[in-house]
Symmetry: C4
């Protein structure tokens, strides 16, 4: 049995071992199984991270997300990440690699106080960025209004309450880069320009969605994917994303 | 363990504790898991309520529907709801909020004697309301005929039997409002104008479907979603929703 | 406990009680759960029947197919059905109704020696019949060729082997009738006109598929649904169903 | 009980009996269940093979893939296959037939050192080959670039690392033949012409995808199916598969 080895102090196995289903090391694999069945993390794409106070739990790179186990989770201390080039992990699973999404997740945690950040490769997200790219103006902002599901989003950073039915949901789009960590700067710039957004689309790539809690990040990710799919279907049917309903 | 607390008389825990899978407090979570997998209650959207004689069981607001538990269920007595502004609950789960759909569910129970009412945010329902909005006339009525699945609906309130193949299924559409409870008046007006309907579409929002029993409400909701999806695909293929087949 | 009653000789409960997963009374509910998840038997639509020598097992009318149990199964003796107007059942579950599909299933068993017949309301099947209805000629025959999945069909009644890649699969379409049992005559006529077909489409309704065994009926139903879906997508993309590849 | 017979040395039952979930005879059925739910192996179509050193494990022909068991697996020794016309099996399940895909799987193992090869009938793959067939030039190569999911592929045979975001993924298309084993020659020719490809599309049929390991073959198959689906949706929306982004 490997368990005595695996449970040694060396790899800080205790950080990811818990009988509590709500423990981040148990929640991340459960979420990833769900996301795989939704087509969000196909073929090792996408990822998920949960922050619990100063501890950050991260899905690794390159694993089949529907098969992920608690043992595969990376852990780091947010306050100890002084140099983005030298990431320090409390726990690194042997024979795995940390996710390239790590600096992007950390941006959501440090700049927005997020408790969870979800990255999907949802085709609906990608198609929305392609449709925006193809139109003459305003290529870097997805806008939709007057759809009930918009209420699934909070008003914004450190604000109370949810968006209203007539509010326009605005999700900024950043351009993709060959290396995922190079997205960090433009993701942070998008957060600065749209301080109340809970998501950033990445052109031809997917979307990052976050929230104060796992519950909020996950339900906002679902609501957003719903709106992306609806937007693509609306386009097929010649229906506009914005409308003037008072 | 919280169970002794949770089982105390104070919160009327006995109302939602049963070993019977058919008990409303067990059925609602099971239905919601199914509805989540169908895309009907994405991101905390939608809801479900079951009436058992004078007791009404309600899914709460803002929960992840596929994770709902019996403990999350609200209970009220239908005959005791004298003032819609002052809802009185027999059981209110701590740290949850009652659903904004409550007055709409109650309308189905009181005006139509329904035993179950289901509210979905199905994209097919939303797309049908958008397609209707975009056409010159008759924007407030979805009509389809000569499709076998139409037989999945009862003839109407206090009538025996099901619709026939050649009958036209008519589902009224009401306009959405910023606050869901404000839909009550127009929902009730639609019930009055179309007394035999078992469903009302809400523009850019979703649909309310009911039935005398859980079985009928659920199978009518499925049949309706099937017809909405079919109608959207028919539109993509240039096929009309109404036809003259004798 | 009801089990002693339910197991009495009166209702021939022994006919549907078996520990063998391959027993028709266990297989039909398992198949129906699968078909429900495929969208084939939404809202009590569709049905399935298995013949074991002279005994025919039938799903009842009006049940939620994903919740069906062995106890819900009807049983009749094929050789004893002298008068189609007076169906004689060996076993009739209390408080259920026999399926209106029964005479159609029996036609597959008696005219084609089928061991299993599946009836779906698949939207792809319905859309194919609508697309055919809308075209100038040949409205009553679905034809497709040069698709590998066509090999999923046998060559025909009492013939050895499967269709080839270049063979044209032909599925006749009959017109729907208000009462499902009234389809029997035209279904039998279609069987006579296309003696090698394993399926008949019903306009605006769905499809009947059969096979010598459960395995063949089920895999042919899957292959056919695959081809219907492919045909609809081909139409959306302007691709023809028939092509000249030698 | 058949188990003593089934476990006899005669049929080399020990080759497919293991408590290890990672054993090929356990993995293949698990993968096939997953592939069935993805629509890749509908109606007995498609197949999967895993190579462990010199032993090759193969799903049989004509079975319902979601119901496959370890007992159904064929085993052969790769180094002993001198004559493709006379396949020698270490283990042949009684009353099953070997897959016609066998020579194609073997090509991936011998010519590319693959550890796993997956064959799907995915409709997205078929539609991509139909769309290519219908265009004036370059009918035998699927090309897409500037989509993040392209990183899900290795650079090629005996090369380190993955494709980059700006790289163009190229998948050759071969013409289908009436007998699947007759595809072998053109599949091998496509491998020679595109030595770095991990997949070959078969017109009007599906796709073969492989990888050094089960993990790589499976995640590449998922990434490819994602891209095929995206490509079909892009075509519906008038979006080109290739773009000039620097």
């Amino acid at each position: 049995m490997q368990s005595s080895m695996a449970g040694s102090e060396d790899d800080n196995h205790h950080l990811i071992r818990s009988d509590d289903r709500q423990h981040p090391a148990n929640l991340i694999p459960e979420l990833c199984r769900k996301f795989w069945s939704l087509g969000w993390v196909t073929g090792t794409g996408g990822g998920t991270s949960i922050r619990d106070d100063d501890l950050v739990y991260l899905a690794p790179s390159g694993v089949q997300k529907e098969l992920m186990k608690s043992e595969d989770i990376y852990v780091l201390e947010l306050s100890k990440q002084v140099d983005p080039k030298k990431r320090v992990y409390l726990r690194s699973p042997p024979s795995l690699k940390p996710s390239q999404c790590t600096p992007l997740f950390i941006a959501a945690f440090t700049k927005r106080g997020a408790g969870c950040c979800i990255h999907t490769h949802s085709q609906w997200a990608v198609l929305v960025t392609l449709l925006l790219e193809n139109q003459p103006a305003n290529k870097t902002l997805f806008e939709i209004n007057n759809i009930e599901q918009i209420k699934g989003f909070g008003k914004g950073y450190q604000k109370q309450g949810a968006l209203g039915y007539h509010d326009t949901l605005r999700i900024p789009v950043i351009e993709n880069t060959p290396f995922e960590e190079d997205l960090t700067e433009s993701l942070e710039a998008a957060m600065d320009m749209y301080p109340d957004t809970y998501a950033v689309l990445v052109r031809r790539h997917g979307v990052y969605v976050w929230g104060e809690t796992v519950h909020k990040a996950k339900t906002q990710a679902e609501s957003l994917d719903y709106l992306f799919q609806l937007a693509v279907e609306m386009r097929k049917l010649g229906l506009p994303w914005l409308s003037d309903i008072a």
